[in-house]
């Protein structure tokens, strides 16, 4: 009530002067965002309808949907999409699993748990590239020594799960913190009431914990989905020479900056963007509906 009243008053008294003042506050952000993101996004769309080759040439003749047609039938592009999807799924699954598991273990406030939280988030502070290189030695030195097997990064059929594990090592701490925040919001008396009613720990977990933290799942899924689909730095360090590990983001980079197929890369980027937006919308809708039901 206290909040709605002044805001209504504010609305009534709003003049052009207020909006002009607001614009001063907004202008730096709008300018920065337009120059870096908004204008380039718009500029990029027409590029994808040309047969522009090298980025240094100024010659880009219109060729309609040829790039899109070519890409949809192209073996390497389709493979990169397959790699991206498979990586994203495994990465999301592992990050959520580890993140949720750790959150359940250490969500209560205590100094032991606080120290553990700091440690589990530590991998997120490393750069993806350094982490990737360190992990390639974890695979040869630790994994190799313990199992006597070759590094999965060298095997075409294991490289994607190997990368997903590396990526989830880095990002599970982020997912964990989001889960911990949600677990701490579940009212304690729910559990007390359930105990009085005779519900066991498992029943409490299924009927109290899970329904109350659905929003944390939504946040994590959307975040990890977006991070997974645009993965570039990790494969560009460890999968440089292996087709089976190349993601769409890498395909785009290679096309534009290495293979002199600028417009083709731009079209691939637009396809990736559309996929990302559509998938995010679907996933958010589905999860939000679950939140309402829960």
């Amino acid at each position: 009530m206290t909040n709605t009243l002044p805001s209504r008053k504010l609305k009534a008294g709003l003049g052009a002067k207020t909006h002009l003042g607001n614009l001063c506050f907004l202008l730096p952000t709008i300018l920065l965002f337009s120059i870096v993101v908004l204008i380039p996004v718009i500029q990029g769309i027409p590029y994808s309808f040309t047969s522009w080759k090298s980025i240094v040439s100024t010659n880009h003749p219109y060729n309609g949907l040829a790039n899109y047609k070519y890409l949809l039938g192209n073996k390497y592009f389709r493979m990169s999409l397959k790699v991206t999807f498979s990586f994203t799924l495994q990465y999301m699954f592992l990050s959520m699993l580890f993140g949720f598991g750790l959150a359940l273990l250490i969500h209560k406030a205590s100094s032991f748990n606080n120290v553990c939280r700091t440690i589990f988030f530590l991998p997120f502070t490393t750069s993806v590239t350094a982490g990737a290189i360190i992990w390639s030695y974890v695979y040869t030195d630790i994994y190799g020594t313990l199992t006597g097997l070759v590094s999965p990064l060298g095997l075409p059929n294991q490289i994607v799960p190997a990368m997903a594990l590396m990526a989830s090592w880095r990002d599970m701490g982020y997912a964990m913190l989001i889960f911990i925040a949600a677990l701490q919001t579940v009212p304690k008396d729910y559990y007390e009431a359930a105990t009085v009613e005779g519900a066991n720990a498992w029943q409490q977990f299924i009927y109290i914990t899970i329904p109350n933290i659905v929003p944390a799942f939504t946040t994590n899924v959307t975040l990890l989905l977006a991070w997974g689909l645009r993965t570039f730095d990790l494969p560009s360090v460890v999968a440089q020479n292996m087709q089976e590990g190349q993601t769409t983001a890498m395909y785009i980079y290679q096309s534009i900056f290495a293979n002199n197929k600028a417009s083709l890369g731009q079209a691939a980027a637009i396809i990736l963007t559309i996929i990302l937006i559509v998938l995010t919308q679907i996933v958010t809708r589905v999860l939000r509906r679950m939140e309402v039901e829960a």
Partner: protein, 291 residues
């Protein structure tokens, strides 16, 4: 103490089981800690190993730990000095610019969120959360190239700040909505103009979220690779994160030096993380509850 617990827990069996479960939990958590830290151990192992040492057991810590690898990185690798300078010169102004811009914008966007125009503007400014960098990397690079901004500190600062706006703005706007308006109204009645009101009253109230964003943005920008590899083409413009890769473009003979480089590059960010970790944790969780 023991007696008291018994008084509350007449069933000592349950109590003993609780203690046992707690021990198992702690043991398991410690095991997780070891697994999570293992990659760091590998990096430290290599960085302190003399370049000539070849041991039969690759996992054992070296008998002759040396600082030679670190010395060679700092004094003999010119890319380390260049990288450190660029990382500092890029990251610090970038996070400060971001803080000034996004906190001003977030305040207005949060306070006027009942008006359609501001809602639309907020939606547009947070579009960066959905559109991947690859979608506009080509036009961005060309614009930067034509403006002479490729391989410059200022070019990287502008680009990186712009890329970070959406995520920062979401967090700060969410925070401002939880700050009551009463203080602002009192100040405006006292005759403060909008700018005085913002910098004297509102900005100090935003300190918790601004600190969090400052730390998180530093993390993201210091560790940035995708943007840096495209916009920083010349050797003199490379950041530490970008310079790390040099060791893995062919030569693997300087492996120990490479890991020493990683560790040195990690130290500033690690120091920041350990001293400000409570802000990071509160920042991520604050954004999460809001959804």
């Amino acid at each position: 103490m023991e007696e008291k617990l018994h008084a509350f827990n007449p069933n000592t069996k349950t109590h003993r089981r609780k203690v046992r479960n707690e021990r198992i939990r702690k043991l398991f958590v410690c095991l997780c800690v070891v697994v999570v830290l293992a990659p760091f151990y590998v990096a430290i192992l290599y960085a302190f190993k003399p370049a000539t040492e070849i041991t039969s057991n690759r996992l054992a810590f070296t008998r002759n730990p040396t600082l030679e690898n670190f010395r060679r990185v700092i004094f003999e690798n010119p890319l380390f000095g260049i990288g450190l300078r660029n990382s500092l010169v890029n990251t610090i102004p970038c996070v400060l610019i971001l803080m000034a811009c996004t906190s001003m914008a977030a305040w207005v966007l949060a306070r006027f969120d009942h008006l359609r125009a501001y809602k639309v503007l907020y939606a547009v400014l947070t579009l960066g959360l959905l559109v991947p960098f690859q979608c506009f990397v080509l036009p961005l690079y060309l614009n930067w190239y034509n403006a002479g901004l490729v391989s410059t500190n200022i070019g990287f600062i502008i680009a990186r700040a712009g890329l970070q706006i959406s995520i920062s703005l979401t967090a700060i706007t969410g925070f401002v909505k939880t700050v009551p308006r009463e203080l602002e109204q009192a100040a405006s009645i006292d005759g403060c103009n909008r700018f005085q009101l913002f910098w004297k009253i509102v900005f100090p109230l935003m300190t918790p979220i601004n600190t969090t964003q400052l730390v998180l943005n530093t993390l993201f920008i210091w560790n940035d690779y995708s943007t840096a590899i495209i916009l920083l083409r010349e050797k003199e413009s490379k950041t530490l994160t970008l310079a790390q890769i040099q060791y893995f473009n062919g030569k693997t003979t300087e492996l120990n030096e490479a890991f020493a480089f990683f560790i040195l590059a990690m130290i500033p960010i690690l120091a920041l993380y350990l001293s400000c970790q409570r802000y990071i944790i509160s920042g991520i969780t604050a954004g999460a509850v809001k959804g």
